[in-house]
């Protein structure tokens, strides 16, 4: 899957430039802006689960399932209300956010970490709206902050996301081992990282988590400059995590670099698919809601076919 796909996108859905999102200070407001925006654009609610336990009534909104309209209430009040239900599965959503130094890279506009923060906030908000329990773990070579999944933890999750700073070297293998120790219950785990590691090591680490019964979603976030190497001048390129520097003439090795990156993402996608792990690549230059919408629509389609 590539972020360029727009499968299932409804006409009239507005996509928000990540640079515009960067002007919104509150992550909750940001997440609501993005999530409510694309929900309103869908023809039908993307809710993944049905519900059994009644929670509350709310006013009917276009796009709601007509079957969920409470007709008895309509008979009494002459107004449409939709019955809200507690999520049947009470699923846990654990967001794993890579906060290593490399995530701080930004060729223009927003950094990868910012983009990843928006992604995590939107998913957390979206999930919380479905009454899932939301938790968070930020990691580099080990866990930096951990918020256990709970129904009321969204504000803490959002605050922790907002506080995160890009520091340290990433080691996804070690980090996921630590997460496995914390998370004993089955849950949906969303890993948001730039995945600078050998594809085999990454998949092996992720698969270990999956084998414990978790539903894994891996979202790779890359800057367009990482994909294209658009630099003109010869320069010392310095590794943001290790500090190691090497002199580089970009014009002479651009093509080879692009090939290597494409091979890397293709290998990741292939290995993930083999392990039945959801994987998506996000380019920070692309509108966030566009990418998220495409991914969720895709996931919904896939879930029906599974």
């Amino acid at each position: 899957m590539h972020i360029g796909r727009t499968t299932g996108v409804a006409a009239g859905t507005s996509f928000i430039d990540p640079k515009a999102l960067a002007k919104i200070d509150s992550l909750e407001l940001l997440a609501r802006t993005v999530v409510e925006g694309f929900i309103n654009g869908l023809h039908r609610s993307p809710n993944l689960g049905a519900s059994m336990d009644f929670a509350e009534h709310r006013a009917y909104m276009p796009g709601d399932d007509l079957r969920r309209i409470d007709w008895r209430l309509f008979g009494r009040s002459d107004r449409y209300f939709v019955k809200e239900f507690e999520a049947d599965t009470n699923t846990n959503l654990l967001l794993l956010l890579d906060v290593s130094a490399s995530m701080g890279f930004a060729s223009s506009g927003i950094s990868k970490l910012q983009y990843a923060k928006y992604l995590a906030s939107c998913l957390g908000y979206f999930s919380s709206r479905q009454r899932d329990r939301v938790g968070l773990a930020t990691f580099e070579n080990t866990i930096v902050d951990y918020v256990p999944p709970a129904a009321k933890h969204l504000p803490i999750v959002l605050q922790t996301i907002a506080r995160a700073k890009p520091e340290g070297q990433s080691n996804i293998d070690a980090a996921l081992r630590a997460v496995a120790e914390h998370a004993r219950r089955r849950q949906i785990v969303v890993i948001i990282s730039d995945l600078y590691d050998e594809p085999e090591r990454v998949v092996r680490a992720v698969a270990r988590l999956r084998n414990r019964g978790n539903d894994l979603i891996v979202l790779q976030v890359l800057d367009p400059a990482e994909l294209e190497l658009p630099f003109d001048h010869a320069a010392n390129f310095e590794d943001m995590e290790t500090g190691e520097a090497i002199p580089v003439v970009p014009s002479l090795l651009r093509e080879q670099y692009r090939t290597l990156v494409q091979e890397h993402t293709a290998t990741l996608a292939r290995l993930m698919r083999e392990e039945r792990i959801d994987y998506a690549l996000f380019n920070t230059a692309q509108p966030l809601d566009h990418a998220l919408f495409a991914y969720l629509a895709d996931r919904q389609r896939l879930s029906r076919t599974r």
Partner: protein, 698 residues
Amino acid sequence: MSLTFLAPLFLVGLLAVAVPIIVHLVNRERQNAVAFPSLMFLRRVPFRSVRRQRIRHWALFALRCLALILLALAFARPFFDRESQTANAAGGPRELVVLLDRSYSMGYGDRWSRATAAAERAIAGLSAADRATLVLFDHEATAAAGPTSDVALVRAALEEARPGAGATRYAPALSVAQQLMDRAERPRREVVVISDFQRAGWDGQELPRLAAPASLTTVDVGDSTTANTLVTGVDVTRDARDGVDRAVVAARLARKGQRPVPDARVTLELNGREIEAKRAALPASGATSVTFASVAVPEATTRGTVRVTSSDDKLAVDDVFHFVIARAQVVSVLIVESPGSPAGRTMFLPRALGIGDRPTFRVVQRRSDRVTAADVDDARVVILHGVGMPAGAVGDRIRALVRGGGGLIVALGENSSTRAWSGAAELIPGTVGEIIDRSAERGGSMGSLDRNHPALESFRGTRSGDFTSARYLRYRSLSPTATDAVLARFDDGSVALAERRVGEGSVLVFGSTFDGYWNDLPVQPVFLPLVQSLVRHAAGWTPQRPWETVGQVLALSDARRGEALVAVAPSGERTRWTEDDSLRSLPLREQGFYEIRDADAVAASRVVAVNPDPAESELGAFAPEELSRAVSPVGTVDATAAATTTLSLAERERRQTLWWYVLVVALLLLAAESLLSNRLSRSARLDVALAEGRMDHA
């Protein structure tokens, strides 16, 4: 010998050197600071290194910088100034005038120490060729030292200077500065004013302007916020009802500043002994008064002092107020009347003089045939009522009295004929003529009055005396000379009142009588003040004020001629006048009690209390720039001198023509830079080609 520039503005061009530096830094930044998330993929690329050209680039960079520096130097027209060692770097020797404010407000807080420090700084930079004058000023300005090249002399005067009791006035100080600047011989002239720039010191009127090329520098030692408590004055009320002379003293206190004083201590001292202490609350920026219990006044002059003490007061001078409670002043009046006049005819005069205490009149009445020389000796004023000039010793004593500052008042009546006054023509203003009888027309009236004359100035105010209601049936004509003063005329133009100054004294002649026979003046309300006013003027009496103010000049005209006098200032400084001194005036410069006494006496014949000007306690200031604008020279810098300097510099530069050599070197460097630059770029192109070849090969 030093390197100087004819056009130093071109040195700004040296900033151009920054351009290659910035370019270089930007390049370096670009080369060294590309942070990249991971070198994972870059490391796998077979070719990765770039050439380093730093050393060769540095050479190029240095060449470019040097060329730019030399170009800027060449345009600045450098030359070696061999004369600068002897001449003053900024245009020759200086004439410096330091105007140091020593008014009493400079005693506020640490103003004085800051002021002397500023003065010290001003004179510290003087060289042997410079000249300085230290002028201390308050309401007057005096040169304490200089003009002198001896800095030690100025410094010594500065160390001796202290703030005084005077009030600030800028005009006298600037006038002295102007005179000094006009006489100055040094080419650079500077006036430094060190002051607290009190608004009270300058009312915005025109000040003496300094002539070009003098410049004015101001040093403000004032404080932004001030607090001051002071005694602004004293009211002394006399009460002699029970036969005991008592006085009630009320002190007026003021508070300047934003904070009130809840508990100020106010004391009354009489003759150096504390009589009473009271507590007073003073509102912020307000005033109050404190009344002390009544005290019996001793016979002699009493010296009184009111002091106020408050916690945050930083100005001590105005916390003390001195005053004098004097004995009642007495003026002796001798009335000489006609021998044949019936008893009680002149009763109006002594009655009119028997009232009042400012001054008290002691009246003696004598008939002209019984008056003695001793009577005249005891009198300060003699009134000759309807009689001629007494002959013999009495007449001589009267002449002496008048010449010595006493007074003679003549009322012309039945017996005041021309013949009766023929022997005293030098005393009478003009000539006494015949009787003018206006009874047929029911009398004349007073036509005009010179109310500006000192004898009649008490009638200057409106409704202060109706002179027209009195009817004059008879009066004598009087023809004064041009040098005599006419104070009043009747409605027919005849002189009613005239004055002649004789020696130190005064002779007043009234054309009619004061007895009610020739006129009804004595029964008019204006009679009493007129008589008292005339006698006071003839006696040369001035009210002795309870206190004087620093800066005033005390005229000692009432002191009799021919007596040697000594005045002792509060500091002990003595001023002496010999018997022959005619001008006896005492400038009051100190706060406290001045004593004036006969040269050979021990006890003071007069005590004068002197207080500083309360206006100086208003510590509000004006911007020193206002003074600079009002005083600074109208013209600009002396054009002739400036032109001479410029010409000589240009001449020196023209003879050396250093710029030409510098320019040639700069051009050679630029040529070398071009060569080096070309070679480097060829080499760079070759390297890239080689690199691409390696890539293909790989």
